[in-house]
């Protein structure tokens, strides 16, 4: 079975984000990049599914100039193939990304396409549905607990709702999934293996890079700080007393005799 995982990089929040002179983007001078957390969940799920039913995991990333390490990390975690798609000066909008991935899937075999349901730089969750629309494939988003049916022609997935309600969907393959969480924390990629993979040549596929609509950012601003935090000082006993007082004040827990 052919599993395809779409991965991308997002700014590492270890650095504080600074808005650039245009006021519409973040300053990239000191920025470092990390794999998008939800894409890591998608890869982790794909690796588990491949190990369960057999097949191959192929990772695709839009080539924004710095994705070699991202793809090498996917290979170090156990992906079978990594492919750079197109060529982009900076991370494109979700619409452009969907168009490029749709083009790439014309030549990359796929039974199940998985990607993170969202990323910290696009909380719109549109990549999976847009791509499914362009490729005319069924799609489910915000999924967990992915399993391949015994016939190999369907997958079942869960969506979690408020109040502890879980819906189970069956979806015909090939399909596109927006992954919310993986069954296990994404596995650690040993640095020596990542570095070894960096030395391997990587495949590349052409894809259109033109602007394909989507949202336009008009202005970025930093949220205003809310109320101040209270720093509790003093001895351990004084700190404990103050915490107990705060909890009692707010009606959290109950006071028992000392």
């Amino acid at each position: 079975m052919e599993f395809v995982v779409l991965v991308k990089q997002v700014p590492d929040l270890a650095e504080e984000l600074v808005i650039d002179a245009t006021g519409r983007d973040i300053d990239r001078e000191w920025m470092t990049w990390v794999a998008s957390e939800w894409d890591e969940y998608a890869l982790e799920e794909a690796l588990h599914l491949r190990d369960a039913v057999g097949g191959r995991v192929t990772c695709l990333a839009l080539d924004t100039g710095s994705v070699d390490e991202l793809l090498a990390t996917c290979l170090a975690r156990g992906a079978d193939r990594a492919v750079k798609v197109g060529s982009f000066e900076r991370p494109p909008t979700t619409h452009t990304a969907a168009r490029a991935f749709a083009e790439a899937l014309g030549t990359v075999p796929h039974d199940l396409v998985l990607t993170g349901v969202q990323a910290i730089d696009d909380l719109d969750g549109q990549l999976a549905p847009l791509l499914a629309g362009l490729r005319d494939l069924p799609h489910v988003s915000v999924v967990t607990h992915i399993a391949i049916g015994e016939d190999g022609g369907t997958a079942t997935v869960n969506q979690e709702y408020a109040g502890g309600v879980v819906a189970e969907f069956a979806v015909d393959l090939p399909a596109v999934l927006g992954v919310q969480a993986s069954r296990e924390a994404p596995r650690y990629a040993p640095v020596s293996r990542v570095r070894q993979m960096m030395r391997e040549p990587m495949d590349a596929i052409d894809a259109p890079a033109g602007d394909d609509g989507g949202l336009v950012v008009e202005a970025l601003s930093v949220p205003e700080a809310g109320g101040a935090a209270e720093m509790i000082g003093g001895s351990a006993d004084q700190v404990a007393e103050r915490i107990a007082a705060i909890l009692a004040e707010r009606g959290i827990g109950k006071v028992v005799a000392a």
Partner: protein, 432 residues
Amino acid sequence: MKELPVVKVDRVIELEHAVVDGIDISGGWNRMFSQRSITEYPTEAMDWVTGLVGGESLRACYQCGKCVPVCPVNHVGDYGPRKLNNKVLRGNRLLDDPDLWLCTTCGACYRVCPKEVNPLDFMPAIREQAVLEGKVPDELAEAFQNLGRTGNPMGESPRKRIDWVAEAGVDVPVIGQLGRPVDVLWYVSDYTSYHPRGKDAARAMARVLTTLGVDFAILGPEERSDGDSARLAGESGLFEMLAEQNIKAFGKYEFGRLVVMDPHAYNAFKNHYPRLGWQGEVLHYTQFLAPLVDRFVWRSNVDLEVTYHDPCYLGRNNGEYDAPRILLEAIPGIRLVEMPHTKRNGYCCGGGGGGMWLDGFVADHVSERLSERRVREAVATVGTDGTGVLSVACPYEPSRFEDAVKSTGNDGRIVVRDIIELIDQAMQPPPS
């Protein structure tokens, strides 16, 4: 006698025939020279371990057990270096065994081992295989990931590595901005740069270096973790990557010597960076300051009873016991009292070899933290009325020991201070 043939058994040289004063005292053939029951065990796991670079010495263990009473982890749990050999002999490669992560690589067992079985070599070798198989405790994996991403185990911004400078009260030059060679490149290290208590030592050091007129600078945001604890925890690739980044930074600037706050950095730069292409003079800060002790101008009396905790990677594993004590004894008012576990027999704080990032994992397998045991020993030595000090010379320790002071109920009976903090205190005018 010299012409007689010798039989070489490891490093013990025995004469095949020895005649002393006409009496033949040659040993007869005995069981020592025949197959012993030990070889009835399967050898696959041992062959696998000794086939790893660094794993070779584990086979030499003959189960004498000298390592057990000196192993700090043995004091708090069902663990001992001897047992590792036994487990491997029984076919356990340790990859799924919690024992793999309990060793702090403190080196206490190696010091007493008649067969020179060395966990500082075989532990990283086996751990590396576990890391490659993805068998890493989650909290350790997180520290590895942070080190890879940001160059420090907390995952803090590399730019914030110099934030502590703002409150030092003295100018701390960054070598990249200085544009000239310096005598001392001061490697500040991770916990000294980022940890709230570690930063106190950094500021004290900056003030002391300035007062002494030392020509120094720091790397600032270019500095990365030395990587030594990641190496000992089995992530050799990560160690090499961090070392390459540091070596690249060292190579950009001219400096006379490297002075480090962290014994783990000292160990890395002195013993492991040379094979990766960097060689130079490295001094722990106590080694740099001890010869200058006559130049210190003391302005305060520090009336305290102080004991000193030898860091494993300054003391036992690198042989420096004197420099920290020269400094402590020079501080006016300080009375130095040794703990029972001291110098070569120093007791590990539990932070080495990755232990710093395995606190939760280790807690499931031990009755108390090594830092808690050590604090009890310090309290028994100097902690009675709150004037007792547990002094340290490693950035891992202020936070470890201060937590342990609280968790053992000794708050108010003893305080933890880096030696540089005590020096700084004595060089300041007395508080009015």
